[in-house]
């Protein structure tokens, strides 16, 4: 029995089905991200777990207890909003203490807990300030402390970093992860930024059009995307059109070049397939062990110091790859003809 159980959740607004048959089992202390473009239903799922939207069908359980019919103020959840939502008339300390005050916790214990939380988020001296005196990053940290103070069972974060500057976003996301690990609290994190999701989650749910396209660890999702959408949404993806020559051997033709994918493919011979390849799987030149070789013409070379970003054209397709700088090997010139190689099994076959 999972700690947080979402079973067959559905949500419709009038005729529009925003969430379809969404099932997810989250273990205790796990950090799960809901990742997808805007409108994919990820926020709706979160709000259903919080209790701000009632599911049209399906059920939600926390620690075995069905909460689908409970109002939000009885679910013992903590929520962090994109817009911080700090109460403007209360100080930082009063904001953090809010949940405890509502529960009727005694003042001494309240104050101790507030001090503890402020220390946890790294703002021990700002207790007396008002929200309008804080920066965005500080406000969001206080919002986190406020949500965690009453010791909720589940922590829900709705795109908490989207309103912040890039630098703050990066530092705050690892802080959030560290605090979450520290407290061992079950967490659902909604975001549209795949780098964010991949860097801090235990598992990711990639959503599109109201359904979960794939659930898995970041490593899994990135390297073994189950659908074309997941492959293209998560990370950069090179795509190539190829003609299947021998399904049993997995031989394809890209233009005039013949490659072997080192595995049998279940497509009819002669059919056109779409191959996908991550940039790090491509190598410049024919590297031993990478026997799928493609002739290419260099289109662009960006020298970024330790990394050289190359874009090359292969039979009408534009591929990008990164290669490390080597002092004894200058980067290729644009327009020059080179060979790109990859291992056959690194090619992903996309279902069209």
């Amino acid at each position: 029995m999972a700690y947080l159980d979402l079973a067959n959740l559905e949500k419709s607004f009038g005729p529009t089905r925003v969430v379809r048959d969404f099932t997810l089992a989250v273990g205790k202390g796990e950090f799960v991200s809901l990742l997808g473009p805007s409108g994919c239903g990820k926020t709706t799922v979160l709000r259903m777990v919080a209790g701000f939207e009632a599911p049209t069908a399906g059920s939600i359980r926390i620690d075995g207890q069905p909460v689908t019919d409970l109002p939000p103020n009885r679910r013992q959840i903590g929520m962090v909003f994109q817009a911080y939502a700090l109460f403007p008339n209360l100080t930082v300390a009063e904001n953090v203490a809010f949940g405890l005050k509502v529960q009727g916790v005694a003042r001494a214990e309240r104050e101790a807990r507030v001090t503890e939380m402020l220390r946890l988020i790294g703002l021990p001296d700002l207790g007396g300030r008002y929200p309008f005196q804080l920066s965005g990053g500080q406000q969001q940290r206080v919002a986190l402390a406020r949500a965690l103070a009453p010791r909720p069972r589940v922590l829900l974060l709705d795109e908490p970093l989207s309103a912040l500057d890039a630098k703050v976003r990066v530092s705050l996301r690892s802080e959030i992860r560290a605090i979450q690990r520290d407290l061992g609290i079950t967490t659902i994190f909604v975001t549209h930024d795949q780098e964010e999701a991949m860097s801090i989650s235990d598992r990711i749910v990639v959503m599109n059009g109201g359904i979960a396209e794939q659930v898995g660890a970041p490593f899994q999702i990135y390297n073994r995307p189950a659908t074309r959408f997941v492959a293209q949404f998560v990370g950069t993806l090179n795509t190539l059109a190829a003609r299947l020559l021998d399904p049993g051997q997995g031989t394809v033709a890209v233009g005039d070049a013949v490659l072997s994918l080192d595995r049998p493919l279940e497509r009819p011979a002669g059919s056109t397939v779409t191959l996908a390849l991550r940039p790090e799987a491509l190598r410049l030149g024919h590297v031993p062990g990478h026997d799928a070789v493609l002739p290419a013409r260099i289109a662009e070379v960006e020298f970024l110091g330790s990394v050289i970003r190359v874009r090359a054209e292969v039979g009408g397709n534009m591929l990008s790859l990164d290669t490390f700088n080597r002092a004894d090997a200058p980067p290729p010139a644009p327009g020059s003809l080179v060979q790109l190689s990859a291992a056959g099994r690194d090619f992903i076959l996309l279902d069209d």
Partner: protein
């Protein structure tokens, strides 16, 4: 006058550096002249006059004259009317705005309410008094209907439109809409996330209102109260058209004084006017201070 001075300013400016600064100020000359001649100086003249004897010397005697029973009584009635209509205007206006904005009523009602409030807050003065006389006067529509349909004789119960209560009732017609116009954006400023955050932290609806929403709205509330107070205090035409001169509120006393020196002392009129300015000035100051505080929170 305006355009010529502006036209003359431009060609000279780039040529002679030291003269540039004063010439830029010429652009606000017409406004400054107008404001001085027709706003600031007349007001100052009155304020200063309150401290002057007819011969021109300084005195506090005029101000002392304010504390005569007749004048003090008038101020007291004015303050009572203003406080009453401000308080009721705030309360009723808030209830109406909350009902339309948050009470689950159809969306279209909000625009209708705001438009009507815009019109009603300007429908003051003489026509408003006539409208109420036509409705609640001795032969008014509602008076007649109450008699014919319900057998209730309104005027036998002691009610009289030409009274303190009647004036309050009439003033509310433009006080309530003003409150609605001001409180609606404030209610809008109550962000949905606050309600949800409070709920996620375990607060019930009542707790949310008590601990977050009302404290946030409080400065707006109080500020608008001050504004409504000032609004009612200075109103003349409505009262005159409704009660003639029978209700001695301060503006009517001043009116009579200006018309025919009924107080037998012209400088006392200055003092009365000065008293009015002080009260409305303080009220407006309170409003401005509280409004900036409210705006800071509701951003």
């Amino acid at each position: 006058m305006t355009d010529l001075s502006l036209a003359r300013a431009k060609p000279d400016a780039p040529r002679r550096e030291p003269l540039r600064l004063p010439l830029v100020w010429l652009g606000v000359l017409p406004f400054a002249a107008f404001a001085l001649l027709f706003l600031i100086w007349p007001t100052l003249h009155i304020v200063l006059g309150a401290f002057q004897t007819p011969e021109g010397g300084f005195t506090l005697r005029n101000l002392a004259g304010l504390f005569s029973p007749q004048i003090l009584g008038a101020f007291w009635i004015s303050i009572k009317v203003s406080v009453m209509t401000a308080a009721l205007g705030c309360l009723i206006g808030f209830v109406l705005a909350a009902a339309v904005m948050r009470g689950g009523l159809p969306r279209g009602l909000r625009d209708a309410m705001l438009t009507f409030s815009g019109v009603a807050s300007n429908f003051a003065g003489v026509p408003l008094a006539f409208a109420f006389i036509a409705t609640l006067g001795r032969l008014g529509l509602v008076t007649v209907l109450l008699r014919d349909w319900f057998g209730i004789n309104l005027y036998a119960t002691g009610f009289n439109l030409i009274s303190f209560a009647g004036l309050t009732l009439v003033y509310l017609y433009f006080q309530i809409p003003l409150m609605i116009l001001i409180v609606t954006p404030a209610l809008d400023g109550l962000r949905r996330e606050w309600r949800e955050a409070a709920a996620s932290l375990g607060a019930s609806g009542a707790q949310y209102w008590r601990m977050v929403a009302l404290p946030v709205l409080w400065p707006s509330f109080l500020g608008t109260f001050a504004l409504l107070f000032a609004n009612a205090f200075g109103a003349v035409a409505t009262a005159m058209a409704l009660t003639g001169s029978s209700l001695s509120i301060v503006p009517i006393i001043l009116f009579a004084q200006i018309r025919g020196d009924v107080l037998q002392d012209p400088h006392l009129g200055y003092a009365v006017a000065f008293g009015m300015i002080v009260l409305t000035g303080i009220a407006n100051l309170v409003y401005i201070v509280l409004r900036s505080r409210a705006e800071r929170w509701l951003k």
